[in-house]
């Protein structure tokens, strides 16, 4: 027998209370890890971005557009292999207006050249290229909306008003996670040639994405692009794809901070539950601590028993919480979120480092929560403690 073994055995004294406390830790750690996974998965868009692509947008904001002629200008910059261009369309699917998904106008051929991780069956690709009212839909989105090749759909414009009938000509998958499978892409010319667009809105693109020949030179190339437009009416801001994703995500910075805060609040609640349980236990054992002190145990030993017991509860509860959360996220929930988040989460999986951190945090937080009861136990007067009836 060891002092540590006593701390472990102590958790079995009031099994019902211990189990409830552990459940509290399990739920808290699961909630904490899920929230942390939301944050890390959100930031994953930056990590997963292609290193050989740079994006160019209006210098002020990506809501403002660039002249179409800039596409050819960018293409002429040394180091650029190919370019694609896009307009954010922001429409809803008629009949399913409550479902959010990204829908963009693009030039189909250059788009598939620049985003060569997109896989479309040859016949579908050909049909999409040929049909100006054709749409290419991500496999996840098709599953979510119940779409298949040949379906006639109508997008209801929000930025560009009116009904926009289209035919699903292709369904794409991807070979990498650098682009989601939850978006809809259609012909830029369909948008540009629509009577809805009045002259100032015509021949404008939202952003240009370029494929570069040498990914190590992305900084140099982006500078070159922006320098080229420096003296024009419309200046640009170019960046690698990861930075572009980051600047998009910065819009949600407040939300991410709120999630971060909530995850910390969850931990604090867990610590309060644990602290209360441990304090109750130590109060009940005051007489017993008096006996231990009488037979020669030192204040540090009592503190060790209290902290050790709390740490064991935290460790077991944390391990169960981490295990359940890891299994849940990485064996089902993650995939559901990836497919159903409209491209917000390209990769929703719990990292091993987050799981390990959850375990360490549960143990340390539990021991920290027991600090005050441990201090009180160590400061007990032997005679007073012996007089106290347990």
């Amino acid at each position: 027998m060891t002092l540590g073994a006593i701390a472990v055995k102590n958790i079995g004294r009031n099994l019902f209370r211990t189990v409830l406390t552990m459940l509290g830790v399990v739920v808290a750690i699961m909630a904490f890890l899920l929230l942390r996974t939301v944050i890390s998965s959100w930031m994953m868009g930056i990590e997963l971005a292609a290193k050989d692509r740079v994006a160019t947008r209006h210098k002020v904001t990506f809501i403002m557009t660039l002249p179409l002629r800039y596409v050819e200008d960018v293409k002429a910059v040394p180091g650029i292999k190919d370019v694609a261009y896009f307009n954010w369309f922001g429409a809803k699917l008629a009949g399913k207006e409550d479902q959010f998904f990204g829908n963009m106008a693009t030039d189909p051929e250059s788009f598939l050249r620049v985003y060569d991780e997109i896989v479309v069956p040859e016949d579908q690709k050909k049909n999409w290229f040929e049909n100006r009212q054709g749409a290419l839909v991500g496999a996840n989105l098709a599953k979510q909306l119940g779409l298949k090749v040949g379906d006639k759909i109508t997008l209801k414009g929000t930025i560009f008003p009116g009904d926009w009938p289209m035919t699903v000509e292709g369904i794409y998958t991807t070979t990498r996670k650098s682009i989601d499978q939850s978006s809809l892409w259609f012909h830029w010319k369909y948008l540009n040639e629509s009577p809805v667009l009045t002259p100032p809105m015509k021949d404008k693109v939202g952003w240009i994405t370029s494929k570069i020949t040498d990914k190590s030179k992305s900084a140099e190339i982006t500078k070159r692009i922006d320098a080229m437009f420096d003296t024009r009416d419309t200046q640009t801001l170019s960046m690698d794809e990861g930075s572009m994703n980051a600047s998009f995500m910065s819009m949600f910075a407040t939300l991410l901070k709120a999630i971060d805060l909530v995850s910390i609040v969850v931990l604090i609640i867990m610590m309060l539950i644990l602290g209360n349980t441990i304090a109750m236990g130590t109060r009940e054992r005051t007489h017993e601590y008096g006996v231990l002190r009488a037979i020669g145990f030192m204040p540090k030993h009592l503190a060790f028993f209290v902290l050790g017991e709390a740490a064991v509860i935290g460790l077991i509860g944390g391990a169960l919480g981490v295990g359940f959360a890891y299994f849940l996220v990485n064996n089902g929930l993650g995939q559901v979120i990836e497919e159903g988040s409209g491209g917000m989460f390209l990769y929703f999986r719990m990292k091993e480092s987050d799981a390990l951190a959850g375990l360490v945090i549960a143990t340390v937080a539990a021991a920290t929560a027991a600090a005050i009861p441990a201090y009180r136990a160590s400061k007990l007067d032997v005679i007073d403690a012996l007089r106290r009836v347990g």
Binding site: M1, M298, V382
Partner: protein
């Protein structure tokens, strides 16, 4: 710190010397004097009982002699050690190796077996695990509980639990055993068994035993009965 062991008139070594001891507590605004000017000598190998009405200071005196508390006045010297000169930490260490405690309500840890409860004081020593276990087994054999080593307190009778607490008290081979109402929670038969065991520890193992009791039958088993009243020996 250690003083030479004194002897009494019969040439027997004195193991406990209480010199002009006073003890008072502050309760609220009031100072309560529990013991005053107390002098006492107990020789090595004695088996003595302390009796007296509630509030007479029996347990206070026992706590002082066992090093659980410090006197407000005077000195207590046990086996040559002036307990008042020791720090709290040193007194704890001294208790661990010199005093065995037997309490009225046994005070065993409910999650530990009889063997583990007995081994508890040995965790404070540097003995290897196997040796600790061996000594705890021996102590349980002395109290006649070798068959119940793996039982937890809730699986033992009151008498058996008190035997375990006695095994825990003797496992470190202390010179002094202090027992505070050791038979208070027991029926007559179990109480007799415990008293017999204490006698055996005194006569066969030479332990000095100081017992506080309200039970005249228990006190009669001691070699000497001292009576306290209002903080003074009669």
């Amino acid at each position: 710190m250690a003083e030479a062991t004194a002897t009494n008139g019969n040439g027997k070594p004195i193991v406990i010397r209480v010199e002009n001891v006073g003890k008072s507590y502050v309760r609220g605004r009031e100072t309560v004097e529990v013991l005053s000017g107390l002098n006492l000598e107990i020789e090595k190998g004695a088996y003595e009982a302390l009796m007296g009405p509630s509030g007479s200071g029996k347990s206070t005196l026992l706590n002082l002699i066992a090093g659980l508390d410090k006197p407000t006045k005077g000195r207590i010297v046990v086996d040559g050690v002036d307990l008042g000169s020791l720090s709290e930490g040193d007194r704890a260490k001294w208790r661990a190796s010199n005093v065995g405690f037997v309490f009225q309500s046994y005070n065993l840890l409910p999650v530990l077996t009889a063997l583990e409860n007995t081994e508890l004081p040995l965790l404070l020593t540097n003995l290897p695990s196997a040796e600790r276990k061996k000594r705890a087994q021996t102590a349980l054999r002395v109290v006649g509980l070798e068959e119940r080593m793996g039982h937890r307190p809730d699986q033992l009778s009151g008498g058996q639990q008190q035997r375990v607490s006695i095994a825990r008290a003797i496992v470190t081979d202390p010179r002094l055993i202090v027992a505070d109402e050791p038979t208070g929670d027991l029926d007559r038969q179990s109480a007799d068994e415990i008293l017999l065991l204490l006698e055996k520890l005194n006569t066969e193992l030479g332990k000095t035993i100081l017992m506080v009791t309200h039970d005249p039958a228990a006190a009669e088993r001691a070699h000497r009965i001292r009576r306290l009243n209002k903080g003074a020996l009669q």
